[in-house]
Amino acid sequence: MKILVPIKRVADPDNANKVGVSADGRTIETSGMEWKINPFDEYALEAALRLTEHGVTKERIGEVVLCSIAPADVATTLRQGLAMGAERAIVVEQDDSALDAFAVAEILAALVKREKPDLVMLGKQAVDGDASATGQMLAEQLEWPMATIAMRIEVEAEGKRLKVGREVDTGVLSLRVELPAVLTASDRLVHPHSVRNGVTPADFSYPESDGGRYASLKGIMAAKKKPIDTLTLADLEVSPTSLCDYTQFRLPSARGGQAVFVNSVAELVQHLKQDAKVL
């Protein structure tokens, strides 16, 4: 199975409260913040690696290709993914700050036509724009079936189709999807038993983790030799169109006042009844 994993680099999500807005409100400022792999893309990558390996022997049984639409220095971020175990990477060199999900999907669709993967796996949302749209739009442009917010995957029919559990508001919705397809990852896709590829023994358990695997020293060394190709939009013969125009940004209004520290349950109840009037 060949899996394409689009990776977006985002300003460090654990410091998202340090994101600023320029004085004229026209741009979002993230200068000084570290670039990280969008966490949901990292879950997609971890799941893609699990789908393409024998869990016990770590023998590779498929190929994972990373891609990113960003300025050239995104290569540093992609190396991290190569160190985790992906085979190779592609940079589509392009300022991505003004691209909306539709435009990103157009570029990815062109890349899919060139790479011909069996599966595209990406995060259910990028934690900067928080739109949750790119995967759906890509599937539509490719005219492929999709399964968004995947929290568990089981390979069926020797890799011709997947059984996918989707994490929806009211529980888990299961789909059977024929490949090629687009999947978007929820964070639960990295739970110990969430990916079953039919080669790894069914009782195999991945370690508990709240993200992707750590790169081994061997993986880091190997990543230095793995190819990262660079393409332009002209190479892909695509001229993407953004359909959204952001005109203004602002920081959220602060919640009113300092927290009141109460000393007892009785005092809390009194405040909730008399001041807050919520009881």
């Binding site: 999900a101 724009g129 492929w144 299961s174 789909l175 964070d187 959204c244 009141v260």
Partner: protein, 323 residues
Amino acid sequence: MGPILVIAEVLDSSVRKASLVALGCATRVAQEAGTHFDVLCIGEGASQAAAELGSFGAKRVFVTEIPGGYVCERYLPTVTHLVEQEGHKFVLATATTYGKDLLSRCAAKLKAGLASDVTDVRLSNGSLTFERPMYAGNVFGTLTLNTEVNVATLRQSEFSEAVPQGTTSEQVELPMQAAPLADRVHFLGLEQVASDRPELTDADVVIAGGRALKSSENFKNILEPLADLLGGAIGASRAACDAGYATVDMQVGQTGKVVAPKLYVAVGISGAIQHLAGMKGSKVIVAVNKDKEAPIVQVADYVLAEDLFSAIPALTDALKSAS
């Protein structure tokens, strides 16, 4: 601006309450723009659910019965066919997992701009302007869509529900359109978590627990009596869900549900940025946390820095004896 289409979400032959805010927004925008709105009620049990939609002032309620559970690829051709046939210029739904799945793909099929998870919709000079949270609610962006058709999903907690108008909408059967991808994706089932409590996104009170509860038994024994007493829903942090103390449908945050109840009680939740993104719109926030420096304190109105294992049962008892 031309007419508006609301996509109503059908679950178990009923309209999900979440859809009422999309109806409310459509009512307001249609009035301001001097146009009308229609509703599409689509899915298994749509014919039965449509009866709930007749009194909100929609010009027509289109009904498409599609057997089997929700599969985007089976619904989509019918949705876009209707939009094109009726010339709808604004297509909206509530930003549930269903709304975001269906409308994102719908926007791509219509080659229409999408504003996802918006917190505000304004009409000026005949065109729509949206505001939406980004970076886990740490920045708000104002945007317009430069296409003739605008598609949006609405953050439920930020809009008012529609109220019945005392009118009766015309009901129109709309046949399901051929779905070319239907043989490549199949619905297998929906495992729902049964609960007698209100849905998280509908509740006036949310009692939410974190990893500090230490087990699913504690989650149940400590939080449930308080939630039951206040008629509240139970929420959880991602850490608590990952540890298996709570089910995934209970997660509040950037991943999971966004809630804005009148009262949010965060029990043993430290308040990671991702969690705050899902609850800081709550009217009153109470943090019960031994750590006075925890990030949850920055958004809390009241902080009780006591051991939750004694404080929550004591709070439950105090409210019980007071009522």
